[in-house]
C-alpha cells in the first residue's frame, strides 16, 4: 500500500515539475507581466541611485545610501513578483475560467498551486540575482558571506508570506479589472512608511506601528540589516523574521480558504 502511495506521489511531483516548466514558459512569453516584476524595480534602482549619488544616511551612522536602497528595492521586487503578480495573475486566471478548467482535470489542486508557487520562486531568484548583480557591479553593494544565510532566509520567508497572501487576497478581489487597484492600494502606501524607498525616520508613532504590523517593513528592515556595513555576525533580525513567519501563517490560512471554495459556485 505504501509503495503504491509513493509511486503516485512520485508521479504527482513529476507533474509539479512539468507544470513549473509550462508556468515558466507562459510567464516569460507575456511581456505585460514583466513590467511590475522587472521593469519597475530596476527602473527605481537606477532612479534612486542617480538621485542620491554618493549620499550617506546620517540617521544610520552615515552608511552609504547605496547600502540602504539596494536591499530596499530588493524587498519591493520580491513583493512585486510574489504578492502583486500572484494576486493579479490568480484573479485573471479565475475570471478567464482557467482555474475552473484546471479543476476539471486529474491534476490535483495542490500540485497546480505548488507549481505556480514553484514558478514564482524561480522568478524571485531571477529578480534577486539581477538586482544584487546590478547592485554589486554598478554601486559596489556586495552580499557578505557572513550574512548570506540571513539574506536567503529572509528572502525565503518574505517569498512565502507574500506569495500565500497574494493567492489568499484573490478572495477579496471581485474581478480581474479591480485586481491592480486593490493590490496597489494594499502595497504602495505602506512602502512609503516601510523603509523601502527612503529611511522612514521621524514618522509619528502610529504610522510606525502600522508599518511594523504589516510584513513590508519587516522584510525591508531584515534585508537592510544584513546589508548594513555596521552589522556584525549573522545579520539575522529575529523580530522581523518572526513577523514574516506570522504573516506566512496568515497567508497560508487565507490561501487555503480561497482554494477550498468550489469554483462553480463563485460569481
Amino acid at each position: 500500500m505504501s509503495s503504491v502511495l509513493t509511486a503516485s506521489l512520485r508521479r504527482d511531483l513529476g507533474l509539479v515539475a512539468w507544470q513549473i516548466r509550462y508556468e515558466q514558459r507562459s510567464y516569460w512569453r507575456n511581456r505585460g507581466r514583466g513590467v511590475f516584476t522587472f521593469v519597475f524595480p530596476l527602473m527605481f534602482l537606477v532612479i534612486f541611485a542617480s538621485i542620491d549619488k554618493g549620499a550617506h544616511i546620517s540617521s544610520r551612522g552615515g552608511i552609504p545610501y547605496d547600502d540602504f536602497f539596494v536591499p530596499g528595492i530588493l524587498a519591493y521586487a520580491v513583493i512585486a513578483t510574489t504578492y502583486v503578480n500572484m494576486a493579479i495573475g490568480t484573479a485573471i486566471l479565475r475570471d478567464a475560467g482557467v482555474l475552473k478548467r484546471m479543476q476539471g482535470t486529474p491534476l490535483p489542486r495542490w500540485a497546480y498551486v505548488a507549481a505556480r508557487i514553484g514558478s514564482t520562486i524561480l522568478i524571485v531568484a531571477a529578480i534577486t540575482a539581477l538586482t544584487l548583480g546590478l547592485g554589486a557591479v554598478v554601486w559596489g553593494v556586495h552580499v557578505r558571506g557572513s550574512t548570506l544565510p540571513a539574506v536567503i532566509l529572509t528572502l525565503a520567508l518574505g517569498t512565502a508570506a507574500f506569495t500565500t497572501l497574494g493567492i489568499g487576497i484573490t478572495r477579496f478581489i471581485s474581478s480581474a479589472e479591480s485586481a491592480p487597484v486593490i493590490v496597489n492600494l494594499t502595497v504602495l502606501p505602506l512602502t512609503f512608511i516601510s523603509n523601502v524607498w527612503f529611511p522612514a525616520t521621524g514618522l509619528p508613532k502610529a504610522l510606525t506601528d502600522v508599518a511594523n504590523f504589516f510584513p513590508i517593513r519587516p522584510l525591508a528592515d531584515a534585508l537592510q540589516y544584513a546589508f548594513d556595513p555596521r552589522t556584525t555576525g549573522a545579520g539575522l533580525k529575529g523580530h522581523d523574521l518572526q513577523t514574516l513567519a506570522i504573516w506566512t501563517v496568515v497567508g497560508i490560512v487565507m490561501m487555503v480558504r480561497f482554494l477550498r471554495r468550489p469554483l462553480g459556485e463563485q460569481g
Partner: protein, 326 residues
C-alpha cells in the same frame, strides 16, 4: 453452445449507466433552479439536454461535472458521486465548458501536451490536433485563435485524456453554419470511438442531428424525454396538410377525409390527420376531378422545433387538441 451469446448480450445490456440522476435538486437561496430531475444516460449514447436559457441545463451539467454541489437527490457519473471530486472520475471525464479560458500564451500543441500529461493514459498530441482539425494552427498561441478555433481547442483538451464520457455545454454557440457542421461531424466521430456524449444545447437542429436521446428541460424540470423523432409522441402526431382554396370554394366543399380537425384561415386550409397518405390522395383527387388549383400544397410532420416550442410554451398554442406533454 447456444447459451454463450445470450449471456454476452445480457452482460452488455446490464452495463451500468454512464450517468444516473434521481430527483436531483439545486437551490440558490429561496430559488430552486433544478426541481427534481431524473434521467439515465446509457454508455455510448449521445444524450442531449435541450432547453431555453435559464432552464437549469448548465446547473444540472455542472453538478454532474463536480463544479456545483447539489442540494438534493442522487447523482452518479460513471458509478461515482461527482460531489466527492474523485481523481478517477476526472481521469475518465472530458469537459467542454461554456466560455472557459486557457493559458493563452501557450501554443495549441503545448496546451494539448500539458493537459494530456495530467492523465494516466492520453492520446498522442498530433492525433488529437488532427481530430479537431487544428493542424495548421499547431504552433499558434491560444490567444491568437479565432472563436471557432478556440472551441475546437476546448474539445481537443477534453479529448486528450481518452475520456469515456464527454460533457459538451453548448459546444457550437456562436459558430457560423459551416463551423457548426464541422463540429457536428467531430462530435459524431466521438461516438464512433465509443464515447458517451452528454450534450446541452438550445439549438433544435443540433439535437436532431446528434442526439440519440433528448431530454427537454424547462423551468428546472424535465418535461419530455425520448428519441428526437419520437419525442412527446412526435411520430404519432397528426400530420399537417396545408393548401389554399381558390375563390368560390369553401371548407364544406372538400371531400370527407380521415382527419382530427380542419380549419380555414382566409383562403388557407389546414387539415390535421393521422392518415396523411389517404387524406392527401382524397383531397388531390377531388381537386383534379374539378380542375381546381390548390396553392402551396404541402404535407408535413411536426418538427422537433414545433414540439419543443409547444413543450416550453415559447409559442402560441397550435390547433392541436390533444394533450401531449408528459
Amino acid at each position: 453452445m447456444p447459451t454463450l451469446p445470450a449471456m454476452t448480450t445480457n452482460h452488455i445490456q446490464r452495463r451500468a449507466p454512464a450517468v444516473e440522476v434521481r430527483d436531483l435538486r439545486k437551490s440558490y437561496g429561496a430559488v430552486e433552479a433544478v426541481k427534481g430531475v431524473s434521467f439515465e444516460v446509457a454508455p455510448g449514447e449521445v444524450f442531449c439536454l435541450l432547453g431555453p436559457n435559464g432552464a437549469g441545463k448548465t446547473t444540472t451539467v455542472e453538478i454532474l461535472e463536480g463544479y456545483r454541489t447539489r442540494t438534493g437527490g442522487d447523482a452518479l457519473v460513471l458509478g461515482m458521486d461527482p460531489a466527492h471530486g474523485e481523481r478517477e472520475l476526472r481521469e475518465r471525464v472530458g469537459i467542454v465548458l461554456q466560455q472557459c479560458g486557457v493559458q493563452a500564451d501557450l501554443t495549441v500543441a503545448e496546451l494539448i501536451e500539458m493537459y494530456g500529461r495530467y492523465h494516466v493514459r492520453s492520446r498522442p498530441v498530433d492525433e488529437v490536433i488532427e481530430l479537431v482539425e487544428l493542424t495548421e494552427k499547431r504552433d499558434v498561441r491560444a490567444r491568437q485563435l479565432s472563436g471557432g478555433q478556440r472551441r475546437r481547442l476546448d474539445l481537443a483538451l477534453a479529448l486528450v485524456g481518452e475520456p469515456d464520457l464527454i460533457f459538451l455545454d453548448e459546444p457550437t454557440t456562436g459558430f457560423d453554419p459551416a463551423a457548426r457542421r464541422q463540429a457536428w461531424s467531430t462530435i459524431r466521430s466521438l461516438c464512433d470511438l465509443g464515447k458517451t456524449v452528454f450534450l446541452t444545447t438550445h439549438y433544435m437542429d443540433e439535437a436532431q442531428h446528434l442526439a440519440s436521446r433528448v431530454a427537454v428541460m424547462n423551468a428546472g424540470q424535465i418535461i419530455a424525454i425520448g428519441r428526437p423523432d419520437e419525442l412527446a409522441g412526435r411520430d404519432v402526431r397528426p400530420a399537417e396538410i396545408r393548401f389554399t382554396l381558390p375563390a368560390g370554394w369553401s371548407l364544406g366543399d372538400l371531400p370527407a377525409v380521415p382527419s382530427r380537425s380542419r380549419s380555414l384561415d382566409g383562403d388557407r386550409v389546414l387539415v390535421l390527420t393521422t392518415e396523411p397518405v389517404l387524406a392527401a390522395h382524397r383531397i388531390t383527387s377531388w381537386a383534379l376531378e374539378r380542375q381546381i388549383e390548390l396553392g402551396h400544397f404541402s404535407v408535413s410532420q411536426p418538427t422537433l422545433e414545433d414540439i419543443y416550442l409547444e413543450l416550453t410554451g415559447s409559442s402560441a398554442p397550435n390547433q392541436v387538441p390533444e394533450e401531449v406533454a408528459r
